[in-house]
Amino acid sequence: MMDSAVVEVMGITGSPTVTQSISLPHEEMHFFRNLANAKRFAIDIGGSLTKIAYFSTVSHRRVRVPEGSDSDSNEQNTEKVNFTYEVCQAPRLHFIKFETKYIQECLDFIQKHLLGQGLIGQKFVKATGGGSYKYSKLIEDKLGITPEKEDEMDCLIKGANFLLKNVSQEAFTYDRRRSPEYHFLPPGPVLFPYLLVNVGSGVSILKVESEEKYERIGGTATGGGTFWGLGTLLTGAKGFDELLRLAEEGDHRKVDMLVRDIYSGDYVTLGLPGDLIASSFGKAAHLNSGDFSAPDVARSLLFTIANDIGQIACLYALQHNLKRIYFGGYFLRNHPLTMYAVSYAIRYWSKETVEPLFLRHEGYLGAIGAFLKGTEELHTEKYSWQENYAGSSGFMNGELDTSYEFPSRISVGFLEMDRAQRPVGYFPLLSPDVEYSPDTVNLAEDVEARTYWISCFEGSLDRITERAIESQASVAGSIDRALRCKRKLLDRFRTLSIEPCAYGNLTVRSLLNTIEQCLREFDFPDPYFSQKQGENSFALREFDNQLRLLDSLTSESRNVELIWGVLAGNVFDWGANAVAALLEGPATFGFEEAKAELQRRPWLVDSLDRWLERLKKKAHRCITFFVDNSGIDFVLGVLPLVREFLRNGSRVILCANSEPALNDMTYDEMVPLLRLVGGKCNVIQDAMDQGRLMPHETGQDSPCLDLSRISQDLIQLIEREGSDLVIIEGMGRAIHTNLSAKFKTEVLKLAVIKNAWLAKTLGGEVFSVVCSYEEPDSFQQC
C-alpha cells in the first residue's frame, strides 16, 4: 500500500515542542476581554450609548522552525519535522459599546479588575462626548483618575479616518429597494477629501482634507435633538428609540401635504412628482390635532429632519465639490428608515452626483478618536490594523448585538482590531480606471451562492477541527479548544446565513478569513504545518526529475508544459473538499495523476496561445508572482516557471503570505525552502545570490488575496523594480478574489477550479482551468 511517496508524506508527523504554556485570553466571548493587559483607556459617553476603548495585547503562538534544522537536507524519506511554538505579544484594540444607563456597573467592573491589580495608576483615560462632563465625577470616583476631555469633532474625524483606512468594507450605501439593502464599498486608494456630517443633537458639517486638516464648514440646528425633543412633544413617546419604532409604523402622507394634495397629481412643468412632500406637516394646519396618530406624526418628523439634513449636506458638498458624504452621530445610528430618508434626499438633491455613505462602526468614532488622541506614543496610527472577525460583533440593523451579555442583562457591541505586522497599502499595479474589489461574488446578493458556500464551509468544519487537533496531538486541552472553535464557527455561519451583511459584504473571502481568524483565536496557529513540511520534502525529491523533463523539451513545448505544471500543482490544495477527499483517499494521487484530472483544452478561460505569443517578445523586466499552496504546487509547479523567467533574464518577486492559512506557502517557510532548491538548481541559486529572485511577504494571512492591503515594503519593492507582469495563482487568489481585477500591467491568472458547484456556475466542470492572460486596455478573456 505504501508504494506512493504521497502516502508517505501523509505519514510524517510533526512533534510540537511547547516551549511555554500561554493562558488563553479567548476562552469565551465576554465583556472587557484582555482587560488585565489594558494600557490606555478612552471613553465616549453619549446620551444613550457609551463606548469604551482600550489598548491591550494578546499572546499568540506562532510556529517556528529552529534555524539550521532545514528539514530535508539529508533527503531521508521519513523524518520528523521539529518545530517550536514561539509566543509573541500582539497589540489589539478593544472597543465596547453599551447603554449609558449601565455606566456605573461597567465602571465597577473595570475598577474591580484593574484596581485589584493596582494597575490603574499607570493608565489614563481620555473622555469625549456630551456625557463626559456629566460623568466626569463618577469616573474619577471609580477609577481614581481624572479623565482628560477631548474635543468631540477632533475625535470624530480621527475615528473616521482610522476606520476608513483600516477596516475593509467599513463604508456602505443603503437602499431600501435593493437586495441586499446594504452595499459595502471596497477600500479605494484615495480617502480624502470627504464630507463628514455628524448628526448629534444638532448637525455639524465637516470637510476633511487630510489626516491633519479638517474644517467645520457649516451645520444646522435641525438634528437629532429636534427629532427627539419635538417628537416627544408631539407623540408622547418615552424616548428616542420609541420614536423610531413609531416612525417605522407610521404613514407620513397623512400628515404631510404632498404635491398631489395641492395639484391632484404631479407638478409637471417643474417635474415634481405627486408623491413629493410639498409641505411637511402641511395637513396638520387644516385638521384637528386629534386626527393625527403618533406613528404618522413620528414618521413625518423623521422624514422632515432627514430630508432637511440631506438637502443642507448636499448643498455643502456641491459648494465644495465633494462626491462623498459620510454620516455619523446618534440620529442615524445606522437605523434603516433614517438612512433611507437621508440617502434619498442626498441622491435627489444632488441628482445622484453625491454618494451618501454610512459606517459599519459609526458608533465607535468618538471613542476611537479619543483613544488615538491619548496614545500618540503607541504610534497606533502609523501601523495598519484589521478587524478581528472572531472578536467583533456583527452589525445588525444598527442595533446592539444581544448575543453577548454582561454580567447578565446588558447587551453590548464589540469591535476588536489587531495590529498588522507591517503597514499595508494599495497594490500599485491595479488599474486606476476601474474600482477594485477583492471579491468576485457578493454572497449577500446571490442567495443560491450564499446557501451553497455556507453549507460547504460548514461541511468542512469537521475536517478542519480534526486537522487542528492532530496538529497539537500532544498539547493538553487541544480537543476542547478545537470543539469550541468549531462551535463558534457554526454559530457565526448561522448568523451570516440570516444576516449576510453583519460583517460587510459576505464573500467566500470573508468566510475563509473568518475560519482562519477563529483558528488563530483558539490557538491553532498553523494546523497544516507538518503537512506542508512533508509535502515540501516530497516535492523537493521530485524536483530534479521535473527539471530534466522540462529541459528535454523544445522551448515552445516547455512553455506549454510549464503552465500545465503550475495548474497540476495547483490541484494540491487542502482547502478544496474535492481534493482533500482525493488526497485522503486510498488511491495514489501524485503530480501526474493531478495533471490527468485537469480539463483538456480549450480551457474554461484559455489565453494560453496569447501567452505563448507574448513569450516570443521581449522578456518581462520583473514579475510579481503571488504563490498559493506549498509542496507540489510551489516546488514542482511554480518554481520551474520561475526558473524559466530567470533564465530569460527577468527578475522575479515571489510573494507569499506573512502568516499561515490552510496549506498555503508562507514567507517563513519559503525562504529556507528556496535555499534547499538553490542547492539543486544553479539558476535559482544564482538569482538568489544576485538579488534577481526576491522572496517577499505580502502582509496577508488569508487563503485569499486582498490587493487593497498589501505590505508597504512589498509595494515599494514592486515600484522600485518596475514590475511589468503580475501572476496570480490559485482559486482563492485568482478566482474568489481578483478574477475581475484590472491591472495597469500585464497579468496572468492561473487556477484550477476544484469545486464542482463553482465550476458549474462558471460554465464548466470540476478541475476546469482558468488561464487568463490579460493586457492592459484589452481586458478580454479569450
Binding site: 440646528a221 427627539w228 395641492i262 430630508n307 443642507i312
Partner: protein
Amino acid sequence: MSTEKNGSSNSTTISRRNFSTSEKSEIPPMPWFGMDIGGTLTKLVYFEPTDITPDEADMEVETLKNIRRYLTKNSAYGNTGRRDSHLQMNDVYIGGRKGILHFIRFPTSKMATFLDLAKSKGMATLASTVCATGGGAYKFENQFLQEVNLKLHKFDELDSTISGMEFIDAHNHCECFYWANPKDDSRCEKVPFDFSDPYPFMVVNVGSGVSMLVVTGPGKYRRVTGTSLGGGTFLGLCCLLTGCSSFEEAIQLAANGDNTCVDKLVKDIYGGDYEKFGLHGDLVASSFGQMNSKDRRASVTKEDLARATLVTITNNIGSIARMCAVNEEISRVVFIGNFLRVNTISMKLLSYAMDYWSSGSLKALFLEHEGYFGAVGCLLELMRNA
C-alpha cells in the same frame, strides 16, 4: 432640483406697454380676477375699474355691479375671507383701463364656501374666464366649471409669480424694503429699498412649502431648489403643539414666547462659545434640543413652543437660501410668500441671519405684497389670453 425655465416673452415681459389703449378692443369682459390657489391660502386679485363712463355703466349687467359693490364695500367675506385693504393699489392701468387693485385671501380649505358665495352672487351667469395658478387651479378646475360656470385658465405658478413681482414693483415705488438693525428692537426699522436695478436676484417664496428661484433678467428665471419646511410646517406644527387654529394666532403666540426655553443653545452644551469653530454661545445648536427632558417639557409654555417652531423654520429657510445664494453667486435675496404676513419676527430673523452668516455680503429684501404676486401675474395673463 432646478428647472431651467425661461418664461416666454409673451407671458413674462408684461408691462403697461403691452396693454395700451390700442388693444382695448381685445380686452376680456369684466370682471377681471387673478387667482392663486395655494396649498393653504387662496389669493385673489380683483381689478375695480374707476374709469367707467356713463354709457358703459348703463350697459353693465346688474350682476357685475353687485359683485363689484360686494367686493369693494366689504373687507371681510364670510368667516374667513379677508381683503387686505392696506395693500390696495389705486390708479393702476391694466388692459388700457384705470382702476384699483384689490387683494383678497381666504383659506383654500374653504373653497366650497367661496364657490357657494360666488354662485349666490350670480357669477355663473357671466360665463367668464379666470386665470388661476397654484396647485388648486388643477385640483378645483372641475368644481369651478360645474358650480359657477367659470373656466379656469391655468397658468404656471412661478411664471406668474415672477411677472406679478415685476408688475407690482414697477407700479409701487415703495414696494421693496429691508430691515435695518434687525437684532436691536429699539433701533430696528423698515427701510425702503430701491429695487429698480434688480438683476440678478434670488426669490424665496415661502408658502406652505418653499421655492427658491434665481432671476437673471426680465422673465428669465430658474428654480434652483425648494424645501418642504415652509409656512405649512410652521402652522401644522404649531397647531399640533399648541392647539392654535390659525396662522395669526400662531404668530401671536410666538410673539410672546421665548425659544431659548425650548432650544439647546451652543452655551447649553459648551458652557459658552464653541471657540474652536467660532460659534457664539447664543446660537441655537439644536432646535427643540431641550425638549427631551421631562422637566423642561413640563415647564414650557405654548408661547415658547410657537416661538421655537417659528425660529426653527425661519432659520432653516434662511440657511438653505443663503447656501443657494452663495452657490449661485447672488447677493440679493427677496423673501416673499404669505409666511411673512404679519410676521416681523421671521423677517427680522432672516435679515439678521443672512447678514451674519455671510459677513454682510448677502442682503435680505422683502416686498409689501408678500403673497399676492402669483395672483397678480394671473390677472396680467388674463389680459394676454382674452
